[in-house]
């Protein structure tokens, strides 16, 4: 069994780490700090990396670094656990062709994702941009698989409602 190096195993995933941190922090400067902190921490705990999936391991650390930073700044992490039915079925009347119109409006899609509460936004990023399975997302975020599924469902409902052509004011009537 040969020893794998930090460069070979972890450094290739810095792009994913930065992209994820950027979505969490929603600005580049904080994302850089978070990834630096995460990389130091990843190096420290590299000898204990057992899993073959270094990318999900690194993103877990990025997420922890972000939470540590947010907690340190005394911000509260917006939780969506209890506003359950708020946007239930908000997307019912919106069809695929109405969404297709948004194709040219990258900014609008970006803003919609940024507007999502933290715990919705991260599952969307991990699923759609990183392509992780529910099981992997559950491990990174530290919640049951069922919670990943329901957060994804509600995040998508909310995004579709946000992206309906007339919804720029957030008015869903």
């Amino acid at each position: 069994m040969f020893r794998r190096s930090f460069e070979d195993v972890v450094v290739p995933h810095l792009d994913a780490a930065f992209n994820y941190a950027r979505w969490l922090a929603r600005n580049d400067a904080d994302a850089e700090d978070i990834v630096q902190d995460a990389a130091l921490r990843a190096f420290r705990f590299f000898p204990s990396l057992r899993s073959d999936n270094a990318r999900s391991w690194l993103l877990t650390i990025v997420r922890n670094a972000w939470y540590a930073r947010v907690a340190n700044r005394q911000h509260t992490v917006a939780s969506t656990e209890y506003d359950d039915m708020a946007d239930r079925r908000a997307d019912d009347q919106i069809g695929p062709e109405e969404l297709l119109i948004q194709r040219e409006q990258v900014d609008r899609v970006q803003r919609a994702v940024e507007q999502l509460p933290d715990d919705f936004r991260e599952v969307i990023v991990l699923r759609e941009l990183e392509g992780f399975s529910y099981k992997e997302i559950a491990r990174i975020v530290g919640v049951p698989i069922g919670t990943v599924m329901s957060r994804l469902a509600r995040a998508r409902e909310r995004l579709i409602a946000l992206l309906r052509p007339a919804a720029s004011t957030g008015d869903a009537t």
Binding site: D15, D28, V109
Partner: protein
């Protein structure tokens, strides 16, 4: 399958997370239900829109910083010195005191966990002796530094023995002393001489004190009261070297 059941499974369906039988049930329903089909299509379009967002790569200077910064750390072979370099490096960048505390408390947490684990499993020592000249040679060949061991029996802190333990994946010497019924563990590792660091905390009734002395890094943990533990630390600092 009805619409409401399909709605519940729609996300897992498009993400390929359903069992074959569930997926085929959803597929069967969708073939016959335009409403649910449109919901699925809307989600698929949404996925395309999100995946079309720019995937921003790590800036080159960030990559360079990370690869460069960890180089000095890599050359150190001991967990404690690596931790202290991390603290020192983080301290150099303004506004990151939270990270220092974060790292130190992370090590402190492991120190406490190992102390409690040893007590709980009654595996305190691998070499049991009150004689430092028995305990110290036992570590020979097991570590690449010689852990200082002090005779503090005259001050009421008799030596129990020692064992090899692991903190953050690296081997350390755990030297065990006692005070009445209280066990004191001194985790000892090699440290970089010019890394100054002290740290202490009290959590859940355990006091922890850390310092670096002549290239050796100490982490002391016990449920002994703060005053007596301070006495112990002063004696150890004076006599261990």
């Amino acid at each position: 399958m009805r619409c409401d059941e399909t709605t519940r499974l729609i996300d897992a369906y498009i993400d390929g997370e359903l069992s074959a039988s569930d997926a085929s049930a959803v597929g069967g329903h969708v073939d016959a239900c335009v409403h649910c089909l449109r919901r699925i299509q809307a989600r698929e379009v949404l996925g395309e829109l999100i995946r079309a967002l720019p995937y921003v790569a790590a800036p080159e200077h960030l990559r360079t910083t990370i690869v460069d910064r960890r180089r000095p750390i890599r050359s150190l072979t001991h967990w404690a010195s690596a931790a202290m370099v991390v603290v020192a490096a983080a301290g150099g960048a303004g506004g990151r005191a939270w990270w220092q505390t974060h790292i130190a408390s992370m090590v402190a947490e492991q120190v406490m966990t190992r102390h409690v684990h040893a007590l709980a499993t009654q595996h305190l020592v691998d070499v049991r002796s009150s004689d430092q000249h028995t305990v110290k040679p036992w570590f020979q060949g097991k570590l690449d530094f010689a852990p200082p061991i002090a005779d503090l029996a005259d001050a009421g802190f008799p030596l129990i023995g020692g064992r090899i333990d692991t903190i953050a994946g690296r081997p350390v010497a755990a030297v065990v002393y006692e005070r009445r019924l209280h066990v004191i563990t001194a985790f000892v590792s090699a440290a970089d001489e010019d890394v100054p660091a002290e740290y202490e905390r009290t959590v859940r009734g355990f006091h922890e004190k850390h310092w670096v002395q002549q290239g050796i890094c100490f982490w002391i943990v016990s449920d002994l009261n703060a005053q007596e533990l301070t006495d112990f630390v002063e004696l150890l600092r004076a006599r261990a070297m």
